[in-house]
Symmetry: C2
Subunit: 233 residues, 2 copies
Amino acid sequence: MPHLDRSLIAEAPAFSGLDGAALDDILAHAQSFRIPKGEVAFRQGEPAEKFFLLLHGRLRVTRLNPQGQQMVVRFVNPDDMFGVAMAIQCDIYPGTATAAVDSLALSWPNSLWAGMIARYPALAVNAMRALGARLQDSQQRILDLSTQKVEQRIAGAVLQLAHQAGRPSEEGVKIDFPLSRQDLAEMTASTLHTVSRTLSAWEAFGLVECGRQRLTVRNEEGLQAIAKGVESE
Amino acid sequence: MPHLDRSLIAEAPAFSGLDGAALDDILAHAQSFRIPKGEVAFRQGEPAEKFFLLLHGRLRVTRLNPQGQQMVVRFVNPDDMFGVAMAIQCDIYPGTATAAVDSLALSWPNSLWAGMIARYPALAVNAMRALGARLQDSQQRILDLSTQKVEQRIAGAVLQLAHQAGRPSEEGVKIDFPLSRQDLAEMTASTLHTVSRTLSAWEAFGLVECGRQRLTVRNEEGLQAIAKGVESE
DNA sequence: AACCAAGTTTGCGCGCCGACAAACAGACGC
DNA sequence: GCGTCTGTTTGTCGGCGCGCAAACTTGGTT
């Protein structure tokens, strides 16, 4: 009897198509651990020794260039795998994963990956799908960076966040983890100043409601119009 | 005895780790076809029915946004797989693949993919590695777009092209397929005007030598210095 | 050889948005 | 309550590089 219940991971897309015995087997080798807010699961450049599944919370994955400038690569949501550097033949982590809120994750040593795929081929298929989705996402982001204006990109980022981490509240969809202007700037290749100005303008129009590290989307259609490039004049 | 010789694909990373019988089996289901310069292998939005391996030539993969603006996603080199939409659970091609020069490719119907991975697990590992490399690449490009100036990005793109499609010539590394200013602009989120100006300036400094759709790198270190952000004043 | 189309060069002006600066506002600890 | 720290707002300025326009060059075609 495993000390972790299989229901923890049964819902994760990464493990879909696996039966109960497989889940138990996989869980038997997993280790669970907490990541307090602000702490990191791994740092860019460290040797990649483990891969992870987020059970609860939210992580921000960032990447630094040699000049020290930083960007937000993605946010990790519950049931997402992360730190899968070895799946792509990388021996060091290409980014840093920081907890945006207190989080809980499972980890497995990298050495188990090959055996797990061999034993459960569905894992490879799921992992490939996840990678593919992230690739699509990255390419879309490149296209957006190339062709859209800052305001459109910020709108797109906010909509995406509302979609993947939004929680319906009294009036509008609230993003339920601390999100600073700086974070949005690093997601959209902008600056916190521009993001701040933009959000203020949107707030004046009733499109969003924002506070310190908090953001609520009040008018999703309006933001979508901005993201699509509809001029408001 | 297959009508295609296994040596055609034996060198491709996608098929590394497979034995001769497996290669023959895979080749038996492949179809070869020519793509004349300027023609497309598939178009963005078409239902994805095949996946491909480039034998010879060079393809340019582009992507359009809803507003009709275009970017260059990547160049496909010989021995690269392309159009692997189904590997990532996509039922339409997310981009358009156009031949930059007369090219030759193999294709397989998508329906064979699942069976091929099941029979030859090394295929899944190779595919995942390739996807991972492309993901790394995309994320690096996002970081570059976010943090670098246009001139640095152009230098980076030229260096990358010289590396993956360069052929040493009399003086310098020559990119051996037709590459327009517009292409470079769509790779670097810039405009052909800016690219033209930049290349002209570089040529004056002896860093490159350029003609109509042709480009030779004469001073790789110089370009690397620009790419890294060293100011020349 | 003459023509044509596609690709390239170059000039000019303006606008977006980044850089800098300084004040402001919550959150937290004591 | 007070002080501090982090995150946010707002103003001003300037420059990079895009948009537009027009001339030029070169390779291919008939």
